[in-house]
């Protein structure tokens, strides 16, 4: 279970406060969606979950399976099952995709006290996962994300997720940039990971994604706090009414 309690976050180098007492619980086995206006702090929440530097937690806590993770390094969190699919995946020139995937997969397996994969085992595993996501295997020989289209980058994120077998999946606007077919493929990939042991937090601007990845709950994040929580029909309402109600409240 993910428990975010009264989370206050500011930028480490500036006075800007972004999250102002955010409270949210995602039980295992559930998928929760977060929607909210631009600049409301959705990506910040995702980064703070993954452990990015540059943000300071000034109050509150984040518990994953009962354990506070806010002091942990990003790689420790990854070993504990935390995975963030980036809104803007990064390009790593000079590091081949396969090398990256293999280093990550085995690093995580090692920390989870699983045996590291041999080359043939790894190749079989990655080929299988790539095929399911319609990713051309040749692409993985290229440097990580370099020269990938926006949609290819998003698919590459989901491939990494499938390889690392996380238990807390945070997807930050994974749908933006995907064409209609790719949206289906990626959603199938995400749905394949749904299970009683996994919790998912799906950040999106579009109700359409939630037709494919049907959420148990939808939260509205505005002005650094969860302003409203509802079922999947809340996404439909927001599509009509927009965020005026919440930003108005915030002002």
């Amino acid at each position: 279970m993910l428990e975010i309690k009264n989370l206050h976050v500011k930028l480490a180098d500036e006075d800007k406060v972004i999250l102002k007492g955010l409270t949210l619980t995602v039980p295992k086995g559930e998928v929760h969606a977060i929607m909210g206006p631009n600049g409301s702090g959705k990506s910040t929440l995702a980064y703070v979950l993954a452990g990015r530097e540059g943000y300071e937690v000034t109050d509150g806590d984040i518990l994953w399976n009962g354990e506070s993770i806010i002091e942990m390094e990003p790689d420790e969190r990854a070993a504990k099952g935390v995975f963030l699919a980036f809104q803007y995946p990064m390009e790593i020139p000079g590091v081949a995709g396969l090398t990256f995937l293999r280093t990550a997969t085995n690093a995580v397996r090692k920390k989870r006290e699983l045996t590291e994969m041999t080359t043939p085992e790894f190749m079989k595993f990655v080929k299988e996962k790539a095929a399911k996501l319609n990713i051309d295997f040749e692409m993985l020989k290229r440097p990580v994300n370099v020269g990938f289209s926006g949609g290819e980058k998003k698919r590459s994120e989901i491939l990494q997720m499938a390889m690392l077998e996380p238990t807390l999946c945070v997807l930050d606007e994974t749908d933006s940039g995907l064409d209609i077919d790719a949206l289906k493929v990626v959603s199938d990939g995400v749905n394949a990971l749904r299970g009683p042991d996994r919790a998912m937090l799906v950040i999106t601007h579009y109700q359409r994604l939630l037709n494919h990845i049907v959420p148990d709950k939808v939260h509205v994040l505005a002005d650094g706090r969860i302003q409203k929580t509802g079922g999947k029909e809340l996404a439909l309402e927001l599509e009509k009414s927009g965020y005026a109600e919440f930003t108005g409240k915030a002002a």
């Binding site: 993954a50 452990g51 990015r52 530097e53 390094e73 990003p74 790689d75 969190r77 990854a78 070993a79 995975f83 963030l84 980036f86 995946p89 990064m90 790593i92 020139p93 000079g94 590091v95 090398t99 990256f100 280093t103 990550a104 690093a107 995580v108 920390k111 440097p143 990494q160 690392l164």
Partner: protein, 428 residues
């Protein structure tokens, strides 16, 4: 009245060393005269100081305090040990070894200069007397003191499949000077590798290696140098390159360690439609200093030059890249590009990059770029968020940075050997 510049203790010691060794150095009367003229010119110029543009950041006059005794032979060495762990037996089988300044392990197709000097072929004699080499006092010094070197003559049209390897080793506390003279005939293909190692644990060494290579029309040559320095070691390398027409010449230089190394490279385009495709990777530690100074002389039209220089610096290490590109008035359609990049692992490291484009023709495309940056923390986060520990992530990013240069080496065995050497140096 002649004004004599006050010479340093080191310069005086060099002159004395020459007098003490002159009789032992190989060569007949003509070579002896060449040496005498060179040391005379050296005496008036002295060691290169920062006032000499090519040594702006590597002031030998100030840095060289002591002069080690000149070694002119008597050493031992076998190829496998001298090459180190990363070069497999296929390289050792094709290696000629110079120990303490004299060839000890021969190889078919390579002659030792010391053995041929008494009766040197005209092209070798002409190369040794090349007037271009009298410009700089580090080269004059090599002419005065060289005790041996490789002579390689590749016939026109020959395709030499295996890399020809030249390895130099020396005992501690010795100075050595080697001169390699290479001629590649028209249409020939060859790969030449020079290795100069002062591995971890070795003591003070001073070495000079001057390679002259003349490449005939349509030939394809890959030329690699690995310089491994250690605290207290000094290596002065210089390549003097003459290209014919339609030549593809791909030099790659890797410099590692904590010592002082300078790689000079002068390339002259003498024939049209030739390509100079240079790559360099250096990994400098501690108080090490590695200087790569190039002069690329586009004397004729329609030639291409590319330079990619990459360096990783830690501690108080310093790297220098000077890329001087001259485009002569008639060298129209010259295409020259240069990039120098440093990855700074420490705030005390220093990178001096000086591109110098001297363009006298109007229809040319020339450009250069230079960057010095730290490891991108966003990329480290991306890796660590995938479970990769920070140290491993940094290693991966550093390796990929330097790997972009090493990837220019197309020969798989060589590329892997260079990658292995780089990894060792990065994890040292």
């Amino acid at each position: 009245m002649t004004v004599q510049m006050l010479s340093t203790k080191a310069e005086q010691a060099i002159l004395a060393s020459f007098e003490a060794n002159a009789a032992k150095l190989p060569g007949g009367a003509a070579v002896a005269a060449l040496r005498r003229a060179a040391i005379g010119a050296f005496a008036s110029k002295g060691l290169p100081s920062r006032r000499v543009e090519e040594f702006k950041y590597t002031d030998l006059k100030a840095n060289v305090k002591d002069v080690l005794p000149l070694a002119t032979g008597g050493g031992t060495g076998d190829a496998a040990t001298s090459l180190g762990a990363h070069f497999g037996p296929e390289f050792a089988a094709n290696a000629v070894v110079f120990a303490d300044g004299r060839g000890v392990a021969a190889k078919a197709g390579v002659t030792c200069l010391a053995d041929t000097l008494g009766n040197a072929p005209d092209w070798v004699a002409a190369a040794l007397a090349d007037a271009e080499l009298s410009a700089s006092s580090d080269l004059l010094l090599n002419t005065a003191l060289f005790s041996d070197g490789a002579v390689i003559d590749i016939a026109a049209g020959a395709e030499v499949a295996e890399p020809i390897v030249i390895v130099a080793t020396a005992t501690d506390n010795a100075m050595t000077a080697l001169r390699h003279v290479i001629r590649v005939g028209a249409g020939a293909k060859a790969t030449i590798v020079e290795i100069e190692r002062a591995p971890e644990g070795s003591g003070a060494r001073q070495s000079s290696a001057l390679t002259q290579i003349a490449i005939g029309d349509g030939a394809e040559v890959v030329h690699i140098k690995v310089v491994e320095t250690h605290k207290g070691s000094l290596h002065l390398s210089h390549w003097q390159v003459n290209l014919g027409a339609n030549v593809t010449y791909k030099p790659f230089q890797m410099t590692l360690g904590e010592g002082l190394a300078r790689n000079g490279l002068n390339v002259l385009f003498n024939g049209q439609h030739s390509t100079f495709d240079y790559g360099a990777a250096s990994i400098v530690h501690g108080t090490g200093h590695a200087d790569s100074s190039l002069i690329v002389d586009h004397k004729v039209p329609h030639c291409t030059s590319r330079e990619l220089f990459k360096t990783v610096l830690d501690g108080q290490a310093r790297a220098v890249f000077q890329g001087r590109v001259i485009v002569r008035p008639n060298a129209q359609k010259t295409d020259g590009k240069q990039m120098a990049q440093a990855l700074m692992l420490s705030p005390d490291a220093e990178f001096d990059s000086k591109p110098e484009l001297e363009i006298y023709a109007d229809d040319v495309v020339c450009g250069h770029g230079s960057t010095a940056a730290e490891i991108d923390p966003d990329l480290v986060f991306y890796c660590t968020s995938r479970g990769i520990p920070t140290a491993v992530a940094r290693g991966l990013l550093i390796e990929s940075f330097i790997g972009e240069a090493i990837d220019k080496v197309e020969h798989e065995g060589l590329r892997e050997a260079l990658g292995g050497i780089a990894r060792d140096s990065l994890t040292a």
